[in-house]
Amino acid sequence: MLRSEKICVRFGGLVAVDHVSLTVEEGTIHAIIGPNGAGKTTFFNTISGAEKPAEGKVFFRDEDITGLPPHRIAEKGIGRTFQNIKLFNSMSVLENVLCGMHLNVRSNIVQDMLGMSFQRREERELLEKCESLLKQVGLYDKRDLKANNLPYGEQRKLEIVRAMATDASLLMLDEPAAGMNPTETRELMQFIRKINDEGLTILLIEHDVRMVMTLADKITVLDHGIKIAEGSAEDVRHDANVIEAYLGKSYRGAVDV
């Protein structure tokens, strides 16, 4: 579904992502892990259009999307969340989801100003869609709260729901469990599993190893911008390079994580 070919991103002399190729299969949960500064988020940003690669290509459904601006990438059907939650804090929970519907809105600025019946009907339809989406994920009761008044875990969830509202077929989650307590993490895992079962392909960056090991169908390990391992949770767990990257050379082959 998503394929990157030898992506390279450089910041001055620093090579943040070094010839990384990976393929995300449709319907799977694909995780990218790696120590701090391994280039995971940079890789994400390259796919979502925030960063332009110096070399390499990105294909989505066999279409070249390399270097497109972020809003064009979103149009193609790739939604994303951010490492530090980026909700629209001046708006309510419901409005945040409405924002996610942006790509489905047909009315233009003139119709909006005149408040024509077409525009009012569309607005009503959007509202219904968003409310049913919020009911599905259990945030309906909190729809009128300001987004930043939600508990942390639910802010993360709302950000995911907002990205889902774009009708994305691939969802990229940047450390969704960061800063969460174990209960929240468990709930989030169930949630991610659920939306994956409903047909969304998921690409996630995560530090919570237990979460990744149980959730991911396939794991790619980055270190210093280089892909050092790829495979199922079991493969990666026993990979000598991964153990070295995480624990150091002396543990090579000695530890069963």
């Binding site: 909700l87 001046s90 409005e95 996610g100």
Partner: protein, 329 residues
């Protein structure tokens, strides 16, 4: 007793009272007061249009006066040199200002925050200086003898023009309020809150910024046309940077990102100086201080203050409400 925020009933009452005052004003006062009122209405247009940029989209423009100036000159020159009817002058003013806005936006909207503010400030000064030094626009002499619009085969008098301005202002403010509540308004708020998040949801940020810039400048141009036609004489020196700052003050003090804020701000800041004439030398200082105070103590402007939190006002309101309830029952 139950404490609701402004009920719909209260709002309607306020709106009705305001409308009556606005409508009977020309019968009670004439001349100077009428002029002040028309200025206030023109500033409502300017503040509301700037609010689209600053309040809704988070684009801090300091060059709004430039587009106002373009509108005023377009209208004045068309009316005096080509004897165009007012309708054409009026819309041409809006269109040309919008065109100028599109150009400035195309160049400057790539800049962020404070850099955009400086760029627009500079460009608005460029517009003023070019107009002031060009023969086509009568240079420093300005344009004189701008006619009032004609209707029914005669020229409008100032009272009639007053009503025309009122109608235009009401239409524009209503349209802006509809826009603010619509999806476009929400999209602008997205851009204001977080551009990266907005882009990740498929918002073409540059396109929306351009649209709101063009719309805002269009309204500023209309305001310019009304000003030129009402005052019948314009001079580029009236379109200096202080006008931009006054408009910003109106938006900031009234309440950014609200429909009523700029309206209240514009009326207040236009009327206030009339009552403190003796301080006129300190006008800019007072405006500056007012901006600082409002940002420190009422960042959401006058509209955003929760008046009920102030004890005395709350007690007065309660008294008033009980009285109303008693009368109803």
């Amino acid at each position: 007793m139950e404490r609701k925020r402004y009920s719909k009933y209260n709002r309607l009452l306020v709106a009705l009272a305001a409308l009556i005052i606005v409508l009977i004003l020309p019968y009670v006062f004439s001349g100077y007061i009428l002029q002040i009122a028309v200025y206030a209405y023109i500033y409502i247009l300017l503040a509301s249009s700037l609010n689209l940029l600053i309040g809704y989209a988070g684009i801090f423009s300091m060059g709004h006066v430039g587009f106002y100036c373009v509108g005023a000159y377009t209208s004045a020159l068309l009316a005096t040199k080509l004897d165009m009817p007012f309708v054409i002058c009026f819309f041409a003013a809006g269109l040309l200002a919008a065109l100028a806005g599109a150009f400035v936006g195309f160049v400057a909207l790539r800049l962020n925050d404070i850099f955009f503010a400086f760029a627009t400030m500079g460009l608005s000064e460029v517009i003023r200086i070019v107009i002031q030094n060009s023969d086509f626009t009568n240079g420093t002499l300005g344009v004189t003898g701008i006619p009032l619009p004609e209707w029914f085969g005669r020229s409008m008098n100032r009272e009639e023009f007053y009503y025309l301005v009122v109608v235009i202002v009401v239409i524009v403010v209503v349209l802006i309020s509809k826009l603010a509540k619509s999806h476009t308004g929400r999209t602008l708020a997205m851009i204001r809150d977080d551009q990266n998040a907005a882009a990740s949801l498929g918002v073409n940020i540059f396109k929306y910024k351009m649209m709101v810039m063009v719309l805002s400048c269009f309204i500023a141009g209309l305001a310019g046309s009304l000003y030129a036609t009402f005052i019948q004489y314009i001079n580029a020196s009236n379109f200096g940077i202080t006008v931009s700052i006054n408009i910003i003050a109106m938006v900031a003090i009234g309440g950014m990102g609200t429909v009523s804020g700029p309206v209240i701000g514009a009326i207040l800041l236009q009327l206030l100086p009339e009552y403190i004439r003796f301080l006129s030398n300190f006008r800019q200082i007072i405006y500056g201080a007012a901006i600082v105070i409002s940002i420190m103590f009422a960042p959401k402007g006058l509209v955003g203050i929760r008046w009920r939190r102030i004890k005395l006002i709350d007690q007065l309101c309660c008294l008033f409400e009980t009285k109303l309830n008693n009368e109803e029952s």
